[in-house]
């Protein structure tokens, strides 16, 4: 029971981490919480669904389309709703409020145009994911049932396993990108001091667009996963409240923090559900968040937050 709960918790945490990365990326550079991120995840899911159900495309194209589409959407979001505020040096609170407005706007746009009805992803896509996971598992010399695998008495959904591995790999890839590439160095320089970054000749508008594209791409990936696992519907972005908490636990602005925060939250939640009660799950989770912030105001791996010029 304990191990089972831990493994389930980690797999849920992997998804929180995937979504938390988007909050952390944007926060690290612009010092505001981009609450439109959940809406971008939701729209990423719709884009994936459209490509799968309407255009009948396979998993690869559905994923790439949703990732690119959500990335572009996030860039547009910044261009239309945040840039003017940034350039007038508006306090970050205003950016956050603008982001909340965008979330409401996008959600209601979907209500008005597509409607509230939840749609599942076509079985074809789900089966494609399961096939890939089963192939990898049998390649590793293990046996899997249709959609679960049992190792040492622990049952694990293949979908969750795939999600965990993909979020681990994609966050690692992002980490490498940010640590090793020229653009990554510029992003970190911008995190330290955006004004000085532009005084190196960096076009900071473009740099910020790259950051939003990356956050959006992760949103697209998360959206497709959520769509496959649950349904695609206008309110699905609300799960990102949890991801936001994960980002705060890890320390807003820190990528490793987002990852660790996601895992901690997933595991904690699952343990509360399993050993206490699922009704109390969120009460405990939010209590923990508040206690943690009182103890460590900058999260586990966050830096001292100071106003940037």
């Amino acid at each position: 029971m304990f191990l089972q709960t831990l493994v389930t918790g980690l797999s849920i945490g992997g998804i929180y981490a995937l979504m938390a990365v988007g909050y952390s990326l944007v926060f690290s550079v612009l010092s505001f919480s981009n609450f439109a991120h959940g809406a971008v995840i939701m729209l990423g899911a719709y884009m994936g669904l459209g490509l799968a159900a309407k255009l009948n495309l396979g998993l690869g194209l559905v994923l790439s389309g949703a990732i690119a589409g959500a990335g572009v959407l996030a860039v547009l979001n910044e261009r239309l709703a945040y840039r003017a505020l940034r350039q007038r040096r508006a306090p970050s609170l205003y950016l956050m409020i603008s982001a909340m407005g965008c979330a409401v706007f996008l959600e209601n746009m979907v209500y008005a145009t597509i409607g509230a009805k939840p749609y599942p992803f076509p079985d074809k896509i789900t089966n494609q994911v399961l096939d890939i996971v089963r192939n990898i598992i049998s390649f590793l010399g293990l046996a899997a049932e249709h959609s679960v695998i049992e190792i040492a008495g622990i049952t694990l959904s293949l979908l969750d396993l795939a999600a965990f591995v993909i979020s681990l790999l994609s966050i690692y890839a992002l980490h490498i990108f940010i640590m090793k590439t020229r653009t990554g160095i510029a992003i970190r320089a911008g995190v330290d001091d955006l004004t000085m970054c532009s005084l190196m000749g960096v076009n900071t508008n473009r740099l910020i667009a790259v950051v939003f594209f990356l956050a959006g791409a992760f949103a697209g990936l998360a959206g497709v996963y959520l769509g496959i696992k649950y349904y695609v519907q206008p309110t699905m972005g609300s799960i990102t409240n949890k991801a936001y908490i994960a980002a705060v636990i890890g320390g807003l602005g820190s990528l490793p923090g987002a990852f660790i925060g996601g895992l901690i939250l997933g595991v904690l939640e699952t343990f509360v559900s399993a050993y206490i009660s699922s009704v109390w799950r969120d009460v405990y989770t939010f209590t923990l968040l508040i206690a943690l912030l009182i103890w460590l105001p900058n999260g586990l791996l966050g830096h001292e937050t100071e106003e940037k010029v």
Binding site: I185, D192, D193, T195, M196, S198, G201
Partner: protein, 235 residues
Amino acid sequence: MLEVKDINVFYGAVHALHDVSLYVNDGEIVSVVGANGAGKSTLMWAIASVVPYSSGSIEFNGKPMPQRADEAVKKGLAIVPERRRLFVSLSVMENIIMGSWLRGKSEKEQINKDMEYCFSLFPILRQRLSQRAGTLSGGEQQMLAITRALMSRPKLLLLDEPSLGLAPIIVESLFAAIQRVRDSGVTILLVEQNATQALAISDRGYVMETGRVTRTGSGEELANDREIRRAYLGE
């Protein structure tokens, strides 16, 4: 090289610069001295297109200075700002990479030569390449800030209080390095509260008081001026 004409800068209701004018010729070291709060840093940020000015003009090599900082840098301007503003979480090497941001791959050889040149000015940096910039000593940070600025091969270098918070012996070597940089063909606009030493290495100087330029003259003239000595040199 640089011509600032009658610029005015406001921070909200604070009128930080009143009709400030100055010019810098090719190959000069020009210093701006004045008390804390006189508007020296504001002038530097305005020249670098970071702080907007409401009236007046700034020309760089005979053309209007671009409105955006990254564009101004492309025209050959670099700044070592007050308190250095290094990328503190980046390594020394990464700070140097950021300094050479605008230079393409084809310049790789020249970039390495320029880096060697900076190490000849500041040998200690060579041993610190993988260290986080934020963990350097104050003097080393200033050396890195100058190196970062030089890596873009600027025509005009703005230096804002490079001696701030440094031990006298380090300041001395820093000023020697600044002169070597000028001798290599870089024009320098230097802001200092430390007026004696700044004026000693300057061709010309300006004195600023509460947002206005109140005096100008050769470095020597100003350094020997009785009033200035009383006001800024503690005599």
